[in-house]
């Protein structure tokens, strides 16, 4: 058995470009999912019934349907239905955000639920409105308490962006496939990609844990 990494090494710029796209797609997905997830959670918890019922249905459906299925549906089927053609990158961003927002919503709901009622009352007795209490008191604490879960969300997102290779988004996974196919060195190519993903994912989760260790007390009343 012989290893030959030269093909992979020769394509390092090509692969690095893929990695850049992986990170860009991950960052955008995480940011959008956090915003949408908070909105969905608030709508579900405090919104009127006509809003909360479909939101719960949406959340539970995303727990039931694989992200791959959402991805190919939005990329291949949605244009047929709406005439709206999304380029692969944007389709992936929409699909991943749609899927991951549901998870964020569940995490936000648990986070808000875990902030003691006394904290809300302490805000109310200062004369704050309910919206002010949510914005200034409850949400910031909930977000700190959610840090470990947000860490998992970031990790899941980075891993899920690899699935975007299926719709030919030229991110790291897709470019690894290309290099593997052109060089006939699949083992080397995929092994390198695995190590690269690990080197990104492992520190990310560790850093979030470390951050939580340092500021977690600011979320505990």
């Amino acid at each position: 058995m012989d290893f030959d990494f030269s093909a992979v090494i020769d394509s390092w710029q090509y692969l690095a470009g893929g990695l850049g796209l992986t990170l860009l797609l991950s960052a955008l997905t995480v940011i959008l999912s956090l915003i949408c997830g908070v909105a969905v959670a608030l709508g579900r918890m405090y919104g009127p019934k006509w809003l909360s019922i479909p939101l719960v249905f949406y959340i539970d459906s995303m727990r039931a349907i694989p992200v791959l299925v959402v991805l190919v549906w939005i990329y291949f089927a949605l244009p047929l239905l709406t005439g709206l053609n999304l380029p692969p990158f944007w389709a992936a961003l929409v699909a991943l955000t749609f899927h991951i927002s549901a998870y964020v919503a569940e995490i936000v709901r648990a986070g808000i639920g875990s902030v003691r009622a006394g904290q809300t009352q302490a805000g109310l007795v200062l004369g704050m409105s309910e919206a002010q209490v949510m914005r200034k008191i409850v949400l910031p604490q909930a977000l700190i308490r959610m840090l470990p879960s947000i860490g998992s969300i970031i990790s899941i997102t980075i891993k899920d962006t690899a699935i975007a290779a299926v719709i030919a988004v030229p991110e790291l996974m897709k470019r690894t496939e290309t290099v593997s196919g052109q060089s006939f060195r699949p083992m080397e190519a995929f092994t390198v990609a695995m190590v690269v993903y690990f080197l990104i994912l492992f520190p990310v989760t560790r850093l979030i844990d470390l951050l939580y260790k340092n500021i977690g007390y600011r979320g505990r009343s």
Binding site: Q119, Q121, A122, L124, L126, G127, R220, S221
Partner: protein, 261 residues
């Protein structure tokens, strides 16, 4: 009617409109009657202590004052005006009442200073500079000037409760409500909180205090209300309640606590 006359004679500012007046308050949790039909008044500058066994309804009554608990019957008058039904108006009333909780409820994500400034900044919309100035002065008053930039988690229970008092005072309230402010404290830090409260009373703050600290009630209160099973058993000046209780249940309660005057 004689009791009423005596009350009028004995109490501070009894000729003025009471700051808080409870008229036949009724509070139910489902079928359970938390408060039967309770009437009481708090005059300007008075320290009124609510005492009685756990679960007797004294905390519940306190929490109806600023509408943290809804009532099912009766009226609460603040400066002679009934508690408004609208949420926005209740916020106005709450701004005039400081409240201190058993579990402090400091905001853990804010520093000590930010805990004190958040109310004036968000609700009263005072300037950053003004809020800061007030907070610094209040921290000095409660003896915690050196803790301004610490987070609540770094403070002892007694220190946290003193910050909570400063936070309430920052709104410059007319009345202070204390809901068992020392019940969650280690014995050695109870004194520092009671001292702050005592000083506040001496400055003429109107205070309603739910407490198990009988010594504090005896020394600082102007008026003591004894609760049992959702109703008032007896009320009067501390000398009467502690030295010459009129009701058997007051005597029972005090003797259970080992109170001997």
């Amino acid at each position: 009617m004689t009791a009423m006359a005596a009350e009028l004679q004995n109490r501070k500012n009894a000729d003025q409109t009471p700051v808080v007046e409870y008229r036949s308050i009724r509070k139910l949790y489902g079928e359970f009657v938390a408060i039967g039909s309770v009437s009481a008044r708090v005059n300007k500058g008075e320290v009124v202590c609510l005492i009685g066994p756990s679960g007797s309804g004294k905390s519940t009554l306190l929490r109806t004052t600023n509408a943290l608990e809804e009532i099912q019957g009766g009226d609460i008058l603040i400066d002679g005006k009934p508690l408004p039904p609208k949420k926005a108006d209740i916020r106005k009333v709450r701004q005039q009442m400081g409240m201190v909780f058993q579990n402090f409820e400091l905001f853990p994500h804010k520093t000590v200073l930010e805990n004190i400034t958040v109310g004036p900044l968000t609700v009263l919309k005072v300037s950053e500079q003004e809020a800061r100035k007030r907070a610094v002065a209040l921290l000095e008053k409660v003896g915690l000037s050196d803790k301004a930039d610490k987070y609540p988690a770094n403070l002892s229970g007694g220190q946290q409760q003193r910050v909570a008092i400063a936070r309430a005072l920052a709104m410059q309230p007319d009345v202070m409500l204390f809901d068992e402010p020392t019940s969650a404290l280690d014995p050695e830090t109870i004194g520092e909180v009671l001292n702050v409260m005592k000083r506040l009373a001496e400055e003429g703050m109107t205070m309603i205090v739910v407490t198990h600290e009988m010594t504090f009630a005896r020394r600082v209160a102007d008026w003591v209300i004894v609760f049992d099973r959702g109703s008032i058993v007896e009320q009067g000046p501390p000398a009467q309640i502690f030295d010459n209780p009129q009701a058997d249940r007051t005597r029972d309660f005090l003797s259970h606590l080992g109170w001997d005057g």
